[in-house]
Symmetry: C2
Subunit: 130 residues, 2 copies
DNA sequence: AAAAATAACGCAACAATGTTGCGATTAAAA
DNA sequence: TTTTAATCGCAACATTGTTGCGTTATTTTT
C-alpha cells in the first residue's frame, strides 16, 4: 500500500488553504507559494490531497478548476454533495455547505454524484455596488 | 448590427447536432465533419450558435465542454435551467429537460444562473452490465 | 446581373492548463 | 545509520481554446 508523506511543499500548500476562505485555482496557489516548488509538484500535491479527502475539486461553469478545503472530514461517509457559488463579479468560489438541492430523477438512472453550482453576485459584491 | 450568415460549414455543424441524441464536444463534431472546415471555424460556429440560442454549452465535472441542441426555442424567455446527466461509463451527456432542482439559498446572494449536473450510469449502461 | 460591403474562413502562431517519463532527492521505516 | 520508495524538478509533450490577418464567399445594394 502506498503511504503518504509530509513534505515541505505539501505543508506549504495546506497552509495556503488554511488561510483562504474561498476556493483556489492551481495558478492562485502557485502565486502564493512563490517558487516553493515546481508547477508540476503543485498538480501532484493537489491530486494527493483530493485522494486523501482533505480538499475537493470544483469544476466551474467557465471551465476553471478550483480546490477547497473539506470541512466535513468527521463524517463517516465522505461525500461532496454541497453546492458552490461562483461570483460573476469577483470570481470567488465559495462552498455553500448547507445548500443541498432536492430533485426528482427519471427512472433507470443511477446517480452517484451531483454537482450543483450557482452563479451571480456574492454578498460582498452585492453590497458594494450601485 | 451584425447579421448572421448561412454557410456550408454552419449547415454541416447543425446537421451533426440534428443527428445526435446526446451532447457533443468540439472534438466529436470535428471528427464527424471530416475536414469540412478548419478546427478554428468550428469553435467560431459553436460560439455563434450559442449566441443565437440554437445550442447551449455544458461544462462537465471532468472539465470537458459539450454542446447540445436547445429544445425549447419556443419559450419566450430562453433560459437553460435544466439538469444534465453525465454517464461515468459511456461518457455521454444528456439533457434532462424536466429535472429542475429546488433549493434554499442563504440571504445576501443574488443567483443569476444555475448549473446542475448529475453523474452515474445512464439507462443504457445500467441495463447492459452485470 | 454586377458591384460593394462585410461576415465568415483558413492558416499560422500563441496561450493556458494539465500530463508523462525519468533520474535525483528526501521522508519515513527498518 | 542504512534502506526503501514516495516525492520532486525538469524537460517535453498533449489538449483545448484564442487571436491576427489576409482571403473567400454570402448577402445587400446599385
Ligand atoms: Zn463577489
Ligand atoms: Zn465545496
Ligand atoms: Zn452510459
Ligand atoms: Zn441541456
Amino acid at each position: 500500500m502506498k503511504t503518504t508523506r509530509n513534505t515541505t511543499a505539501k505543508t506549504a500548500v495546506l497552509e495556503v488553504f488554511e488561510n483562504s476562505k474561498t476556493a483556489l485555482s492551481h495558478t492562485e496557489i502557485q502565486k502564493q507559494l512563490n517558487d516553493v516548488c515546481d508547477r508540476v509538484t503543485i498538480y501532484r500535491i493537489l491530486d494527493r490531497l483530493v485522494n486523501e479527502d482533505i480538499i475537493h475539486k470544483i469544476s466551474n461553469l467557465d471551465g476553471t478548476v478550483k480546490y477547497a478545503k473539506c470541512n466535513h472530514s468527521h463524517q463517516r461517509v465522505h461525500i461532496h454533495n454541497h453546492a458552490h457559488f461562483s461570483c460573476e463579479n469577483c470570481h470567488e468560489i465559495t462552498c455553500l455547505e448547507n445548500v443541498k438541492p432536492s430533485y426528482i430523477m427519471p427512472h433507470n438512472y443511477k446517480v452517484n454524484e451531483i454537482n450543483f453550482t450557482l452563479s451571480g453576485l456574492c454578498p460582498k459584491c452585492l453590497n458594494s455596488n450601485i
